[in-house]
């Protein structure tokens, strides 16, 4: 974990409103685990004041510009433009100065290699799943169920396929893949692979639906959550969610940035989850 004062290598729009940014980050990949995230300072002047949290999509090396030089290590983010900070990010170019704090938080537990792995991603929620898939495919059979509102929300499917992941796409409007909710695909797959374990990241209603489906079938589930964050380090206590067994008398708050963002489903209090994390209408729908 380190604060990188570094620069943008490239920043491209890959689908309307979605960008992929590569950032120079020597030594980052060695410590980064699937499911971890970074706090990104979109510009070194103010405002905006706070950093923005983003999942780690991948890490890698660029070939050197000229012979004899070491390859450049990069960190790659994939982000959706939604507000002030991400709008500024969309305008960044090669060479722009940025600050990246990370890798932060707890990532996914890879589990038993013998088990079938089903990844469920909604929209930008595919981000941490890609790095997870790149690790899991080394030992396990991995399937990705990817949902979005329209075809424009379906990203990086070919990248997953290149890893050897079997992918199933569904969109609300049927513009790509199957028409309907990704959770319907999940129900079918769980019938076919009853011993599978599930990993999910996406909008809260999707995560809640996945949780219900997995709980009914006693399928092990890990989810990656989003929460408003100020520090990303467990210091401000702004990002908490209610843990299992939470009550007014014995409160149990878990820090999304430090104890998460990945949780085992049974760690959390699902009864009031949507309400608790319902800070953003866009994320709820």
């Amino acid at each position: 974990m380190k604060n990188y004062k570094t620069m943008v290598l490239s920043n491209q729009e890959i689908s309307p409103g979605y960008y992929r940014m590569r950032i120079l980050a020597p030594g980052f990949g060695a410590s980064a685990r699937p499911g971890q995230f970074v706090m990104f300072r979109v510009q070194t002047s103010l405002p905006p004041l706070l950093r923005r949290p983003f999942g780690i999509f991948r890490t890698g090396f660029l070939p050197p510009d000229c012979e004899g030089q070491p390859p450049k290590e990069y960190l790659e983010l994939l982000y959706k433009v939604v507000g002030r900070g991400t709008n500024i990010m969309a305008g960044l170019h090669h060479g722009d100065r940025v600050e990246v704090l990370g890798p932060l938080g707890r990532g996914f537990d890879p589990g038993n290699p013998a088990e079938e792995k089903i990844l469920v991603g909604g929209g930008i929620g595919l981000v941490p799943l890609y790095m997870l898939a790149s690790h899991l495919t080394k030992t396990s059979s991995v399937r990705l169920l990817m949902g979005g509102r329209t075809r424009e929300d379906i990203l990086a499917v070919t990248e997953f396929e290149r890893l050897g992941v079997e992918t199933y796409v569904s969109t609300d409007d049927g513009s790509l893949g199957e028409e309907g909710l990704v959770t319907e695909v999940l129900k079918r797959k769980l019938e076919k692979f009853p011993g599978a374990s599930v990993y999910a990241c996406g909008p809260m209603p999707m995560i809640e639906a996945v949780q219900r489906i997995c709980a009914e079938r006693k399928v092990p589930l890990q989810v990656s959550l989003e929460a408003l964050m100020a520090c990303g380090l467990g210091a401000c206590l702004g990002c908490v969610v209610k843990g299992a067994g939470h009550s007014e008398e014995i409160p149990r708050y878990l820090c999304t940035c430090k104890e998460g963002p990945v949780f085992r489903a049974e760690q959390l209090d699902w009864a009031r989850m949507g309400e608790e994390t319902g800070y953003c209408e866009g994320c709820k729908s």
Partner: protein, 316 residues
Amino acid sequence: MSSETTKASQSVTGPRLAVNIAGIEMKNPVMPASGTFGYGEEYAPFLDLENIGAIVTKGLSLKPKAGNPTPRIAETISGMLNAIGLQNVGVDAFIKYKLPFLREVTTPVIVNFFGNTLEEYGEVAKRLSDIPEVAGVELNISCPNVKKGGIVFGTDPKAAAEVVSLVRKNLAKPLIAKLTPNVTDITVIARAVEESGADAICCINTLTGMSIDIKTRRPRLANRTGGLSGPAIRPIAVRMVHQVAQTVKVPVIGVGGIVRPSDAIEFLIAGATAVQVGTANFVDPGIMPAIVEGIEQYCIEEGIDDINELVGSLQV
């Protein structure tokens, strides 16, 4: 020692940055603001804790406290609102689990605490009194985010005097009273806490604020209101530090919106002997040593040999 070596060592050591807050010896005047630095260990990967003037911990209560429902934070123009609600591990767990880490650092540790009742303030003070690693305490009578305790004691001079007197009786350590800006005249409270035994005054805590999501027409915070911090509040904090420093004899610690060395210097000129850096830690976890360095650079440029010369040097 020859005069030549004295000169040489002076140029190597540079200006004197050490300050003394009610007997707490600090290498330099920069420390974190309570609640923005956890219990110290969270930030250890990003800065050398030996290089800051003191460590100030998250506010403690007698029993562990759960804090408020979420959402607890919202970003605003040059600031943030928080309604954490003083979530903390409680004084006993702090002593058992958090203090051992801080024991390894020579930097003085200031423990911030609060109570729901007068008795609780007294009880927490008693438990901290026996702990040698605690260099001093900071009494929070100023949190806007809890119904009981906190701000209730900080807005009424009589209640403020009462709680400070009680803590004073239970504690043989330097006592800093942290004041709220959410009052008509902060100097009245400052005088009250000084007279009842506070050795130093810290100002300010956050200002009560509100932010509304115009789409849903709901408050952005579950608690509806929260405490505003960050650069947005700095001019108010500087004004209050100046007013308080004019009123009391005890040292004043300035806090509110410091993000750069020049911000910290402003507070010192206004009359603060030391400063606290809060929200800026979230933005840049390595900010405090950079602020210390900037202050040192300023002293060199301005020909200031001792930082204490700068304190309260406002020209009017």
